[in-house]
């Protein structure tokens, strides 16, 4: 199966709605991007006039994977690091340097050691900030946050 443009408007709506409801990322953020799909993975690509002309069968892919699994709604961990802090309104936590390093190496975080977090915070995918930038995302289950499995 070759990578192709996602044209199913319902699926596109579902992706935008997920990022809006889960993280508060406004839908207009995606206005300049095409969604591409390859199996259950969803990729982002800046819209350009020449994309239509590209012979899609010759493509290997695009770097920017947004969702590692469309159906399970697992965001690709590294892709989230592209968002800016002010674009994320909900389901975030902020960690210190040591916590960030340990988390990136795969160590789980305990919610009671987290000093700053968004007022809306629920089980599921949460974005992890260190200072002004995103170090990745985790899956929160009750009081524990595990590194997101959304491998690129």
């Amino acid at each position: 199966m070759i990578m192709r443009e996602l044209r199913d408007l319902n699926k596109i709506k579902e992706i935008r709605k997920y990022f809006l409801e889960r993280f508060g990322i406004f839908e207009h953020f995606f206005a300049n991007y095409l969604f591409l799909e390859h199996f259950e993975k969803v990729f982002l690509l800046y819209k350009s006039k020449d994309f239509e002309k590209v012979n899609k069968s010759k493509l290997f892919g695009t770097p920017f994977m947004l969702l590692a699994d469309f159906y399970k709604k697992i965001p690709a961990n590294l892709a989230l690091t592209f968002f800016k802090r002010n674009q994320i309104q909900k389901n975030w936590i902020e960690v210190d340097f040591v916590q960030a390093q340990e988390f990136m190496k795969g160590k789980n975080l305990d919610l009671k050691n987290i000093k700053k977090k968004s007022s809306v915070l629920s089980n599921g995918c949460v974005i992890v900030f260190f200072k002004d930038f995103i170090v990745g995302s985790g899956i929160m289950e009750k009081t524990e946050i595990k590194l997101n499995s959304g491998k690129e």
Binding site: L45, F51, K58, L59, P63, L78, F133, E152
Partner: protein, 317 residues
Amino acid sequence: MVIRVSPNAQGLIAKSFLKKFEPILGKESKTFFESLTWFLPKTIRVNTLKASEQSIVRFLQNSNSKFEKIEFLDHAFFVSSNFEVISKSLEHELGLIQIMSASAMIPVIALDPKVNETVLDLTAAPGNKTIMLAQFMGNQGLLIANESDEVRLKRMRIHLLKNGVTNCLLTHQDGIQFDVGLKFDKILLDAPCSSDGEINKTINQLKDWSQEKVIKFQELQKQLMVHAFDLLKPGGELVYSTCTFSPEENEDIVQFLLDSKKDAHTVSIKLKGLKGTLPLEQYNGKRYSFEVRNCLRIWPYKHNLEGFFVGKIKKSE
């Protein structure tokens, strides 16, 4: 920036390499050979797709590094102390800074891609210049990064993702037959080469340097160069670069293109404050045409930077 010089440089280098470059550089050859064991200053670049220059300056200050802005490059710094801290930092891990040599940034400056152009990086892995191309394009337009080695291509995908590149498509093709049904405004051909210019990394390789390897690369480079030129739109521009000192892989390749394509012309490359970059005028009894003089050579012994060759070519309208 302070550099250390090894006194017995010539003992570390293949005799055939010394024999080749002595007549090319004459009086300067001794300093050139010595320079091949220098420790050159490390350099970093702000990834403007993800971080501001201000925030990275703050980070450098906090890491207690000695750093200095590179005069001829925007968003780039020489770092002369505490480099380990920087290379192992979260900022690097998260793609807020790139670690790449100053010379390696020059081909992208020369190509100068713009927002909304259609750009090809024909031999792209590991992707450092691809990231820089995306920065120049403001992550807009269409960037295609091609690489023939699948393992390197897969690694490059992660590298580009980590660095926040969103305007890029990847292809896995042999560059000499590359085709996706498009012609390009700008093309970077940062060619596979014998890599002797990357002296910080390859002093050991200079022991086993061989002219046969140079000639093998030259054949591939000629084919890549002609095909890259054919992929340009009329009025489009191509930058050819290598990190080798051998004229067979540099001036010879530009001359070969000029001789093969009547609509190919070189364009001069402007870099503020970097002098003494003229390419060779002749080699092996052959005089290069005047147009080749527009190309640029970086020498460690003159510029305190890794060896590089950069040529810019325009296709007539």
